[in-house]
């Protein structure tokens, strides 16, 4: 399983892919595949916005949001990235923009059952939400599952979004147990991921 570490640098027009340069929260999200660190000439690849989004569900799915919601999503991401730098607890900084939406039980490959709280980023009145799982033990790490639009007439998080988050988390934890997980190569691959666990 490949992961992308999310931070401000990814929203520049062009950039070299690095891990976050701060000691706060590390935000990781699942990807469909790897991205190379070096080009054919052996130089560091200079990425553009459109290079990352195709392999990263949280970004490519945002590409189809309606204009006001798209900008709301970018604002939410930026706020999350800024908050992550401080290492403070999310609810202390984002206040009413972060809330719990439920708990899920996840069974590992080894049979061990763990209970996780699903955190939702996004104001209650707004339509764009990001689901995440927080791990504050040891290194501060948040697994960002996916983004979704809450139906306008719904007061609660749709069940299918909870299920999707649970499935993503299950896949992530299984990959950790099977040692078949890494950040994309341009962010340090397996070695950089090992620093986070």
């Amino acid at each position: 399983m490949f992961l992308l570490e999310l931070h401000h640098g990814l929203l520049a027009e062009s950039f070299e892919l690095q891990t976050a340069q701060h000691s706060g929260w590390r935000l990781v999200t699942p990807c469909d595949g790897d991205l190379p660190e070096y080009d054919k000439q052996g130089g560091k690849v200079l990425y553009k916005l459109g290079d990352i989004a195709p392999i990263c569900p949280i970004l490519r799915e945002a590409g189809d949001l309606h204009a006001p919601k798209y900008e709301e999503f970018i604002r939410l991401l930026m706020k999350m990235f800024s908050t992550a730098q401080s290492g403070q607890n999310w609810p202390d900084v984002m206040y009413d923009q972060v809330h719990e939406v439920g708990r899920v039980n996840v069974r590992g490959i080894s049979g061990k059952i763990e209970n996780y709280v699903i955190i939702q980023f996004g104001k209650k009145k707004n339509l764009i939400r990001v689901l995440a799982f927080i791990s504050a033990f040891g290194r501060k790490r948040a697994f960002i599952s996916h983004v979704f639009e809450k139906p306008a007439n719904s007061k609660t998080t749709p069940k299918k979004e909870i299920v999707r988050a649970q499935n993503n988390l299950q896949e992530y934890l299984n990959a950790i147990e099977a040692k078949n997980i890494q950040l994309i190569s341009a962010q340090g691959g397996k070695n950089e991921f090992l620093k986070m666990v």
């Binding site: 916005l49 459109g50 569900p57 204009a67 970018i74 800024s82 401080s86 923009q97």
Partner: protein
């Protein structure tokens, strides 16, 4: 919308849409203003959290309603310099307006300057600290003796420049 089963062509097209829309948004002065407002709001929220005070306490000290403070810290209102000053005083900090060229690195907040803080516990001899420290860090970090720690415990902090 679960895009995991999309074809490669669809994924690439969605990636291009994401990129072009973001470029378009960055060109919109109103959106850039919103992002600046959000940045100030998040920085204030972090400073408030780091001060260890509650929002209610800060609102009381600043002489504003907590609902107003919440809107300001969510980036929903356009803060005036006077309001910003009131909130900063209530938090116990000061603010500067630092001007720079668009391509220059932004000024760092205190929580953005610390990277790789480690603590070495119970060194055998204090004289060994410097040797170990130089071997570990190439970029000459500052060494801070933490008064809360025992005499043979040190906290080392490396500062970095944002990329």
């Amino acid at each position: 919308m679960n895009s995991s089963k999309w074809s490669e062509v669809q994924k690439v097209a969605a990636g291009k849409r994401f990129a072009s829309r973001l470029t378009q948004s960055y060109q919109d002065p109103a959106f850039r203003a919103t992002l600046r407002r959000d940045k100030v709001a998040v920085d204030l929220s972090i400073a408030l959290a780091e001060s260890g005070q509650t929002r209610q306490a800060v609102a009381d000290k600043a002489g504003i309603k907590i609902s107003q403070l919440s809107r300001q810290l969510a980036g929903d209102t356009n803060l005036t310099l006077d309001s910003l000053g009131k909130i900063c005083e209530a938090i116990g900090c000061e603010f500067d307006v630092v001007l720079r060229q668009p391509h220059e690195k932004p000024a760092l907040q205190s929580w953005q300057r610390t990277l790789n803080r480690i603590t070495i516990v119970r060194m055998a001899h204090e004289s060994d600290d410097a040797k170990v420290f130089q071997a570990m860090w190439v970029n000459k970090p500052t060494v801070v003796k933490n008064p809360k720690m025992a005499s043979n415990e040190y906290e080392f902090t490396s500062r970095y420049e944002a990329a």
